[in-house]
Amino acid sequence: MKFNRTINGLLSLLLVLGFSACKKALEFNPTTEYSNANFWKETSQATAALNGAYTLLQSALGPEGVYYGEARADNIALNLISLNTESLNLLTNNVNSSLRISNWNQLYAVVNQANLVIKNTKIMKDNGIYSNKLSEYNQVTGQAYALRALCYFNMTRLWGDLPLVTEPLKDATDDYYIPRSDTSQVYIQIESDLDSASNRLVATYSPSIYTKAQFTLGGVNAIYTDLYMWRHQYDKAIVSSQKIITNTANYSLTSLTDASVLDNTSYAKMFTTGISSESIFEIDYNFSERGKRSFYIQVYGDLGFQPAFQVSEQLMTKFSPNDLRAKIAFDDRRAINKFFEKTNFNRSQMDDKNVIIYRLSDILLLRAEALNKKKRVPEAIAIVNQMKVRAGEVALLPAYYNTLTENQIENLILDERSKELCFEGKRWFDLVRTGKAIEVMQPINGLSDPQNYLWPIYLNEIRLNPLLKQNSYYQ
């Protein structure tokens, strides 16, 4: 009996312990990741979250940016040795909603991360976590706004009307079916984000790599310029580009003659090693950081690597024989090696080329376009000549360009952009912006309908969101 009593005692104890332990026994917080409860508590976490947005941008544009900006245009041609569904369908203008490249998921992942940073840093600031650290706050949120603007700008150029998401999904039960907003709404959002960014950002960071590979005021002005040009607001574009040009301390043209070997010139190294004096914003990839690569080798490079593309004949004929840029951009076998060391390139460890989003030449030539539209032809041609002379060509003389119409000069500037910025993901947008896409592409791939400029919305996305309507051409 005594024994039984002991057991009974033990039992009751067990039950009591059991119940009291209840609460603790069922609470586990993650130990190897953050939960909402312990994130957004320190400013370093917000900075890390901003870096997270940059890593998502790395995935979104390396090398997808090439497909978006080049695959439907005339600077590249199919590399017949390597036929892949994506490249073949884009080049032949058989753009359809089954193509994985028509999925905007990676760009929206950046938007969502930026939304999280913007929203939570605000709360952190309100809670005093950023007291005495206002400049850090401005830097983090300013960049988040700039990233969001960049993504929306890229997306609206591709898909037109967009679901405008400016708040992160707080809880899984929030409404996630968001309809598309008209492009005018999207533009308002982009401008407002750019305004927020430019109010917060500074011109330089230290060390200099941060100035080039993170958003600065210069980067924001570059998006402004691009946006205004896209919207044909030339006066505004002239103003915003001016802000970049005057910042000579940070932005200057590279040279094609500052080394005896072309491959070692600062111009060549702009693409191979990156972070050049000309760069305004580029996405940094570094193999030593967990093997991060931009995978340019999948689309460009030595034909032995079976890249998707090679240089088109149309582009090759645009270069004059003296143009040094041609030698940088491609080789005799039509392989595009602009982004790769011409010798000793080891694909396995050197395929981490930075993706240049904006550089000074791009902004200068956009400005030239605007100046031409504003009938400031000599100023426009001066910029073109700046490019030509650097490349070893002769400058255009007034006797020649005075005879040209506005449209002819625009074509001349576009050709210069082709030569200068080829393969950098610009050409398709140049053609659409200036309304010359059909004129240029119809003979090549039969593009005939302006509705076809926009890309289709990815099939799966339409299936998942009943509020989305497919772009008219693809209905």
Partner: protein, 1033 residues
């Protein structure tokens, strides 16, 4: 050492006993009775029957002719005859000296069979729930299989679909249809009272279709019985029981007065079961030339295609022959069991070793298992038991699936003109043109391995506080370590890619403590009560370290340390726990009216504070109508019972921290730490709930020669718990939540019959299960598509295939007529994708234009198939004649469809590869009438879109297993100093009758029922021919 010493003692004991029996038998004196023992039914002489004198207990055994001599003494001497499988018979032999005794076979009264019902056992006749049960004997007919394959076809309503033919392969296990739609909706498995880890795992950080089941850690030879709780009474296991509960009981030494040593050895020749039709070299050349010409309008310049005399490309290689082999597999098991005379201690110890070389070259699978199980009684009120299982596995494997490094896929897709060896040097060629890896080189040079070790078991103590009140406390553990390694050498990768290696180390365990009080009470000899009160706490933790490195110097050292850059590294620790209280009350009135009530409360750490606890009640009742006098008078039934139950069960399989959401590292940017969103929180996440009603009938006739069980159920699952795919504009791809509801209705029948008794004995079991499932509700009642093949739609079965419907192939360009203006003759043709789309031409597929707009696009998608079978089951037969027995198990499944993604991949030709033999029928020129479209590289007209063209009927009947065993005659056996020996021949997976053109109609690429039935090229099933030897000492 201890075990060894004990073994020797035991062995000597057996020998001594045997000898002493022999001695006694020869000890002749006066008062002797001679006799023989025969089988009442067959008249067969029975050797080895124990014959003993009741008064003294002294005895002898019958010889090989069934004869015995025994000395008798005393008045009214009674002889007791005891023989396994026969009724114990006593004969008064007063005055007789020469007798013939007939023993009648002891058909075990089925109602007396005990079944495990969760936290206790019940006599089968007392059971009020729907429980299926399989004995270990029934599983032994499949010696080299694992538990999953051994259970197939044996329990009505239990659907087991192996994911592949690999050893240790994962399987999708469904009880009564798909009641959950999340990834891991497996039943709960309980081994000897401990819930064990059964979460299917994959083989590391690689693109691979293979999955593996932790159930392979259990040696089927150690299994005594398997019970499946199918209905609402499973609520005693509450939150994890909505997909049913499978209770596995391992063998014991119970009631064994003397030790038994059993040894079994199996050897098996294994080969590929079925092949998939692919083209040979001339056929392929013609197809490839067409594909290029139709795409570019030009003749291909590929040397391998146009130069059939080229030394490298002159042969036609059958890659099935190269990559598959006949493999020799073997398995050996030894176990010792026994107990003390007074039954205070009994034990079962076993060790097993398996060497299952899979049928793909360069693979190896080895497994060792060991078990120790001991029961001991300290005194009248305290007893205890310990049961522990060990398993260690080492698997050198290849990758499957549709990736470039998948040997299974590359064996099919590698062009038949390629020679695995350089014809000039004889060396293996790792990469063919276009950087296509040689599958043989992949198998030889890549290194993929799984090593795991596991221990699980429990320790319990039972204390009788009073005669009828028992307290049980137990501690259980399930701990495993696993190491997954994957290495791809530079030589198998396209120029300039990096060799890579990865290591995944997991370390996971669960610990459970349970405390039970059981109380028995009988009032007035007719009211029987049984109470259970219990508490349980189980904590799980999982610690995984994943490393991936690239740029190894060579292929010599392939471990992670040899990489030049760590491209990925992560450690993740996950914990969760369950705290439960439960109670059950059983009542019966004279064993005639039965009622059982269950209530369980489960708390899970996975849910938010407001939803932590779930309540899972059930009520069930039974009426043994054969106990009613008026039914007894009919003299129709041996035993009969009507059952009914209703119960609520739950499901909590969702991420450990899903309710909380989270952020994790995404590497670095500019050398600084980068963190991204990892999961959107769901504060209102709660239990998935399944309500199930069941009515059943168990009835047996003709002295248990016919036993029939029927069940009908209705099961409704609400608040389906899963990670739902959301629009990408949210920036995430899935969010966790409770979405929608579905139901399963079904019927199950099991018929056990003794068809012929003598001289042949033929026993059979037939199972049949029909299930219909239907989605009742979805968020916003909108269609939900988790992938491009399957969909969920209200009113439809789970995971139906969705795509375009093919009506044929345009024979000529001019056959494409959407609208024809009869007066002008002007034709408006069908267009692809949009009004601006391309016009279908001769050779393109004629798609059904569902909305009649002349445009074939998303609006024309329709339901094109259903991966859920209409009915499934098995037919098991055992025929015995004298010492021979023949077992044959057929399994079948009817009405399900498979989506043949493997074929779609081959024929849609995204990269240069071989095609399926369908291409022999391809459209080639205007006027051709066929069912296979024109072959165009990159398929611009999307003729190979997801469509009815790739939906195939997956119905099949399989001769899963056939075994012929011969029991060596007792005379021979006893001369060999054995107590029993059996040799056997068997064949597994010998025939599969079905129309499916892939490797096997049993396809399960995903455990997720929303994504079921898509054949993505898993490791094909093999067939095997086995020889087995079983010896008992």
């Amino acid at each position: 050492m201890m075990i060894k010493k004990r073994l020797i003692v035991l062995l000597s004991l057996i020998l001594v006993t045997t000898f002493s029996f022999n001695l006694k038998a020869q000890n002749v004196s006066s008062g002797i009775v001679n006799g023989k023992v025969v089988d009442e039914l067959t008249g067969e002489l029975l050797p080895g029957v124990s014959v003993s004198l009741l008064s003294t207990g002294k005895g002898v055994m019958t010889d090989k002719d069934g004869k015995f001599r025994i000395q008798i003494e005393g008045k009214n001497p009674v002889l007791v005859f005891n023989y396994l499988g026969f009724k114990k018979t006593s004969v008064n032999i007063t005055g007789q000296t020469d007798i013939e005794v007939k023993l009648s076979q002891d058909l075990i009264k089925l109602s007396e069979v005990t079944v495990v019902v969760g936290y206790g056992t019940q006599k089968k006749r007392e059971v009020t729930g729907a429980i299926g049960s399989v004995s270990g004997d029934q599983m032994e007919t499949h010696p080299l299989g694992d538990i999953n394959t051994s259970l197939q076809g044996k329990i009505a309503g239990l659907q087991i679909t192996s994911n592949s033919g690999e050893p240790g392969a994962g399987a999708t296990v469904r009880i009564r249809g798909a009641s959950s739609v999340n990834g891991s909706s497996q039943p709960l498995y309980i081994v000897d009272g401990v819930p064990i880890n059964t979460e299917i795992y994959s083989g590391g950080r690689v693109n691979d279709a293979s999955t593996f089941s932790p159930l392979a850690d259990i040696n089927p030879s150690d299994i005594e019985s398997v019970e499946v709780l199918k209905d609402g009474t499973a609520s005693i296991y509450g939150s994890r029981a909505s997909n049913g509960v499978i209770i596995i009981t391992t063998k014991t030494g119970k009631n064994l007065k003397k030790p038994v040593l059993a040894f079994s050895a199996n050897t098996s020749m294994t080969e590929l079961g079925r092949t998939v039709g692919i083209l040979n070299a001339p056929q392929w050349r013609s197809a490839y030339i067409d594909a290029i010409y139709n795409s570019t309008g030009q003749m291909t310049t590929k040397v391998s295609v146009i130069d059939s005399l080229h030394p490298y490309y002159s042969k036609s290689i059958d890659w099935h022959d190269i990559m598959y082999r006949q493999a020799l597999q073997y398995k050996a098991d030894v176990n010792i069991s026994g107990g003390s005379k007074d039954n205070t201690i009994n034990y079962y110890l076993s060790a097993g070793y398996k060497n299952l070389d899979p049928i793909i070259r360069e693979t190896k699978y080895k497994q060792g298992t060991a078990t120790a199980k001991v029961y001991y009684t300290f005194n009248k009120s305290i007893s205890g038991s310990s049961a522990f299982n060990l398993s260690t596995t080492d698997y050198t494997r290849i990758l499957s699936g549709l990736s470039g490094q998948s040997v299974v896929y590359q064996a099919l897709s590698t062009m038949p003109v390629y020679n695995p060896y350089d014809p000039l040097t004889g060396n293996i060629i790792p990469l063919f043109e276009g950087s296509k890896p040689n599958p043989l080189a992949i198998a030889q040079l890549a290194a993929n391995g799984i090593k795991r070790s596991r221990v699980f078991g429990n320790q319990d103590f039972k204390i009788w506080l009073t005669k009828n009140l028992r307290f049980t406390t137990s501690f259980g553990i399930d701990y495993e370590v696993g190491e997954m390694t994957n290495f791809t050498p530079l030589s198998l990768l396209p120029q300039g890619q990096l060799s890579r290696t990865s290591l995944q180390n997991t370390n996971s365990g669960s610990y459970i403590n349970e405390n039970l009080l059981t109380y028995k009470l009988t009032l007035n000899k007719s009211h029987n009560f049984n109470f259970l009160l219990g508490q349980s706490y189980q904590k799980y933790n999982n610690n995984a370290i994943e490393l991936e490195g690239t740029g190894l110097a060579d292929a010599q050292i392939t471990t992670i340390g040899a990489s030049s850059v760590l491209s990925y590294y992560n450690q993740s620790i996950a914990e969760h726990s369950l705290l439960s209280f439960f109670t059950r009350a059983n009542y019966d009135y004279k064993g005639k009216y039965l009622i059982s009530l269950v209530m369980r409360q489960d708390g899970s750490s996975r849910f938010g504070p407001d939803n932590k606890y779930g309540y899972f009640p059930s009520v069930s009742g039974g009426w043994r109508f054969t106990e009613e006098e008026w039914i007894k008078k009919l003299n129709l039934f041996t035993e009969g019972k009507l059952r009914g139950s209703f119960g609520v069960t739950g499901n909590q399989s969702i991420g450990n921290y899903s309710a909380q959401g989270g952020f994790n590292s995404n590497g670095t940017y500019l050398g600084q730490s980068a963190i991204i969103l990892n999961g959107v929180p769901n504060g209102s996440l709660k239990w998935e709930n399944t309500q199930q009603g069941n009515i059943g009938l168990d009835v047996s006739f003709l002295k248990d020669r016919v036993l029939f069980t029927a069940d009908a159920y209705h099961k409704k699952t609400t608040d389906l718990l899963f990670d739902v795919t959301v629009p990408e504009s949210t920036g995430v791809s899935t969010v966790p939540g409770n979405f929608g509801s579905l139901q399963n209705n079904g019927l199950e029948f099991t018929l056990n019959t003794v068809n012929i008794v003598a001289p042949f004995k033929w026993v059979s079991t037939f199972t049949l299960a029909l299930n219909k499932n239907k989605i009742l509700e979805l968020p916003g009642n909108q269609d939900y598509r988790p992938n491009i093949y399957n969909m969920a739609r209200v009113g439809q079965p789970v995971g139906v295939f969705y795509g375009l419907k093919a009506l044929g192939i345009y024979s000529r360009d001019e056959d494409n007529i959407f609208i024809k203006n009869e007066t002008t003759g002007e034709v408006l043709p069908y267009k692809q994708g949009s009004a601006n789309g391309k016009v279908y031409k001769g050779g393109d597929v004629i798609w059904e234009d569902l909305n009649g707009d002349g445009i074939i696009n998303d609006d024309d998608l329709q339901i094109i198939g259903n991966p859920n079978p209409d009915f499934i089951g098995g037919f098991q037969n055992e025929v015995t004649y004298k010492n021979f027995s023949l077992n044959a198990l057929f399994t079948y499944s009817f009405g399900a469809d498979v989506f043949n993604e493997l074929k779609r991949n081959l024929d849609s030709s995204p990269i240069d590869q071989n095609f399926s033999t369908d291409q022999l029928r391809r459209w080639r020129k205007q006027g051709d009438i066929t069912d296979i479209p024109i072959l165009v590289k990159t398929d611009p007209m999307l003729n190979n879109a997801v469509s009815s063209r790739f939906v195939e009927d997956a119905s099949f009947i399989r001769l899963q297993n056939i075994a012929l065993n011969y029991k060596l005659p007792v005379g021979l056996v006893s001369r060999l100093k054995l107590t029993g020996a059996t040799i056997g021949l068997s064949a597994s997976n010998l025939f599969t009758w079905g129309a499916y053109t892939g490797y096997d109609p049993e396809v399960s690429s995903s455990a997720n029922s929303l994504a079921a039935g898509v054949d993505r090229g898993s490791f094909p099933r093999s067939k095997s021919y086995n020889f087995s030897l079983n010896i008992k000492l």
